[in-house]
Amino acid sequence: MLGLDKKDYTLLLIVAGLTMLAPFILNPFPEGSGLAQFNAGYPDLMQRFVIFGIFAIGFNILFGLTGYLSFGHAAFLGVGSYAAIWMMKLLTTNVIPAMVMAVIIAGLFALIVGYVSLRRSGIYFSILTLAFAQMSFAMAYSVLTPLTGGETGLQLKIADARILDGALEAGEQARANLFGLNMSSSYEMSVGSWLFTFNTGYYIAALVMLASFYLAIRIFRSPFGLMLRAVKSNQNRLNYTGLNPRPYTLAAFVISGMYAGLAGGLMVAMDTQVGPERMFWTASGEVVLMTILGGAGTLIGPVLGAGLIKYMENILSKINKDILHQWFAFLPDGLEDFIITLVYPFIGKGWHLTLGIIFMMVVIFLPGGLVEGGQRIAKLFKGKDADEDGAQTKPAE
C-alpha cells in the first residue's frame, strides 16, 4: 500500500493514528486533578512535538543513514524561518508560500554548506558544519540586521507590504492562515471533566509531519537509502566499486537541510516570529540529542526523541517544590524532606540535568536509543526467536 511493505504501512498507520488522536492521548488526566499538569495536550506543545519531529526526521536522514554528524543543523532551521517570515511579510500570510519558500531557501543554503563541508568527514565535518552555523548565527545577530531584525528578530507588523492580501483594516492583526483558516483557531470539546483542544495549526503541522514521515520511509527503503547506508558502513568499499559517494551524501545533506527548513517554516506558521537564537549551536545540539535519544537510523526513533525532550522541557520543568510536597505529603515529615531534597535537583529548572543523564545512559548502554530499548523489552517477552524489527538498522562495520 502506498508503495510500502506491510510492516512500514502499519508503522505509518500507527503514527498517523497517534498524531491525529494526540489531543485525546496527550490529555489523559481530567482538568483540575493533581495530575493535570502532566497533560501535554495543549496546542503550543503539540505543535512543537510534530515540528521538532520533522526536524529530527530530517536530521536522521543525514546522521542515521550516512553517519555524518552535523553540529550545525539549526542554521537551516533558522534560514527556513527567516525565509518564511519574509514571505508572510511581503506576499501573503497564507502559510503555503511561506513553507515552500522556507524549504527552497534552506535547501539552497544546505547545498552551499554541504558542498563545502562534505569535502571532509568525521570530526572535521562536524566542526565545519558547526563553524557555518555559528557564522550564520553571528551574522544574523549583527551584520544582517536589516534582513534578520538582529537581536529582536522579526514579527508580522501592520505596516508589512503583503502584496496579495492587501491592506488590513484598522485594529485587525495579521495572522498566519491557510486560505483564511486561522492557524491559532481551536475547537474545544468538553467531555465530563476532560477538556480536549483541537487546534488548526496543530493539525496542519501534523499532516505535514505525516507527509515528511512517509517520504522518510520511502527514502529509507529506496536504492538511494541503501547507498547512503553503504556510505555509513564502509566508504572505502564504495570507492573501490567505482562509485562516488559525494553526490549521495550531498543529496542526503540537502534533503535533511530541507526538512530543517520545513520545520523552521512551520514554526513561523505557528507563532509568526523568529529570532537568531534559533540558529545557536545549542539548538543544533538539541536535535542531535533528540535523534540519538530516540534511536539514530531508525524510522520512528527521532520522532520519539523529539517528543520526549519537548515533553520534559515543558512538563518536567514546571514541577516545583510545592508540587513535590503535595506528592510526598503521605510520607513522614523527615522522610518527605529527605526525598524532596534528593529529587529536587532533577526537576524544575534542573531538567537539563535529567536530560543529560538520560542521554549519557542511552549513549553508554543503548546505542540504538529508545527504539533499541523497546526492542530488547519486546524480545524478553517474545522469547529468543522473535526476529528483529524492520526499522532496526545494524551498522555493518
Binding site: L69, V116, I127, M139, S142, V143
Partner: protein, 343 residues
C-alpha cells in the same frame, strides 16, 4: 603602529585561554584518541575552583562586638572569617585578597582527581567505540557537569576579583616610546599571559625532558609497541588525562577575574577551542598553541574600528571563516601530522 601593538596585546589573553584549552584537548586526543567535548566543562570547573576557594577563605562565624551598636542600639554582630582567627586580621586580609592565585594550589589536586575519575569512570569504556559516540557521551557529560555547577552556584556570573596589586593597568605606550596612555593593558591580563606561557612551557618540558614524558610520546607514536615493551601505557595515559584536565582547570582559575565565572562559560570556549585544535592540526601540540594565539590575535584585529567600518561584523565570524579556509586548503591543519585522524 600603537593600534597594532594594542591589538596584539588584546589578542594575547584570549589567545592564551584558547591555547591552554586546545593544548589539553590535543593532549587527550593525541594520547587516548578521544574527542573530548567535556573539556570546556573542565575549564569551567577550574574557574569555579577559584570561586569555591575564595568562599572557603571568607567562610565566617558571627561575633558580637560589644563596643559598637547597630541602628537599633543592640550590640553589633560582626562576621569574622575563620582565617582571621588563624593568621590574624592583616595576614587574613592579604590571603583573601590573593584568593585567585592561591586557588591554583587548590585546583591542581581537584582537577587531577576530576580528570582521573572521568577517564576511569567513563572515557575508558569508549576507546573502542566510534568517534561519534565519544563526542556524544562527552557532550552529555558536559551538560551534566554544567547543570550540577548551575544547581550549586546559580545561573548568575560570580565576580571573582584579582588581587588588588593587579587591579590597575600597565602603560605599554610609555615603555615602548609612544605617547603615554595610548597603549594601556590591565596587569592581570599580563599575568594571565605569563602564566599561560609558563604552563605551556612546563607541559612541553615535561613531555620533552622527563622519562615519563618520553614514554608518553612514544605511546602517542605507537601505543602497541610501547605496550609490548612491558610498559603499562594505559596508566600513563590516564595520568596524562588528569594533567590535561589540570591544564584546562588552571586556565579556568586564572580566567576567573577576567570573565566572572558562569555555568556556560565552558561551552562558549569549547566550540572555539575545537576550531582552534582543528586549525592547528589534530594531535599536534605546537599546532594547538600556535593556532590558539594566532586566532586570538586575529580576532582582536578583526574588532578594530577601521576593519569593522569596511567589513562590519567580521570580528564575529573571523575565527570560523579562517577555520573553514584552513580546513579546505590544508586538510591537516597548520601543523598536523600525516596519519592522525585521517578518514
Amino acid at each position: 603602529m600603537d593600534a597594532i601593538v594594542l591589538q596584539i596585546l588584546n589578542g594575547l589573553d584570549k589567545g592564551s585561554a584558547y591555547a591552554l584549552i586546545a593544548l589539553g584537548l590535543t593532549l587527550i586526543f593525541g594520547t587516548l584518541g578521544v574527542v573530548n567535548f567535556a573539556h570546556g566543562a573542565l575549564f569551567m570547573i577550574g574557574a569555579f575552583c577559584a570561586v569555591t576557594f575564595s568562599r572557603i577563605l571568607t567562610w565566617s562565624h558571627t561575633v558580637i562586638d560589644e563596643t559598637k551598636k547597630d541602628f537599633l542600639g543592640n550590640p553589633l554582630k560582626v562576621e569574622v572569617p575563620h582565617i582571621y582567627d588563624l593568621f590574624g586580621q592583616a595576614t587574613g586580609d592579604a590571603i583573601i585578597d590573593w584568593a585567585v592565585p592561591l586557588s591554583i594550589l587548590f585546583s591542581i589536586p581537584v582537577m587531577l582527581f576530576v580528570g582521573y575519575a572521568m577517564e576511569r569512570g567513563l572515557i575508558k569504556h569508549f576507546y573502542k567505540r566510534p568517534h561519534a559516540d565519544q563526542i556524544l557521551v562527552t557532550f552529555g557529560l558536559a551538560i551534566v557537569l554544567q547543570e550540577i555547577i548551575k544547581y550549586y552556584y546559580g545561573a548568575n556570573p560570580i565576580p571573582t576579583p584579582a588581587p588588588a596589586v593587579f587591579a590597575g593597568s600597565f602603560d605599554f605606550g610609555a615603555l615602548l616610546g609612544f605617547d603615554p596612555n595610548t597603549i594601556i593593558y590591565p596587569y592581570w591580563r599580563l599575568v594571565y599571559f605569563a602564566f599561560a606561557a609558563l604552563i605551556i612551557g612546563a607541559v612541553f618540558a615535561f613531555l620533552q625532558f622527563t622519562t615519563f614524558g618520553m614514554v608518553v610520546r612514544a605511546g602517542m607514536a605507537d601505543r602497541e609497541t610501547v605496550g609490548l615493551l612491558g610498559i603499562n601505557i594505559d596508566k600513563r595515559f590516564t595520568i596524562m588525562f588528569g594533567i590535561a584536565a589540570a591544564v584546562a582547570g588552571l586556565a579556568g582559575v586564572m580566567y576567573a577575574p577576567i570573565n566572572s565565572p558562569n555555568y556556560h562559560m565552558g561551552m562558549d570556549f569549547l566550540v572555539l577551542s575545537f576550531v582552534v585544535v582543528v586549525v592547528g592540526g589534530m594531535g599536534s601540540l605546537p599546532g594547538a598553541v600556535l593556532a590558539g594565539f594566532l586566532l586570538g590575535i586575529l580576532e582582536s584585529f578583526a574588532s578594530m574600528a577601521i576593519v569593522l567600518d569596511t567589513l562590519p561584523g567580521l570580528n564575529q565570524i573571523i575565527i570560523y571563516l579562517v577555520a573553514i579556509i584552513i580546513l579546505l586548503t590544508r586538510p591537516r591543519g597548520l601543523m598536523g601530522r600525516k596519519g592522525v585522524m585521517e578518514d
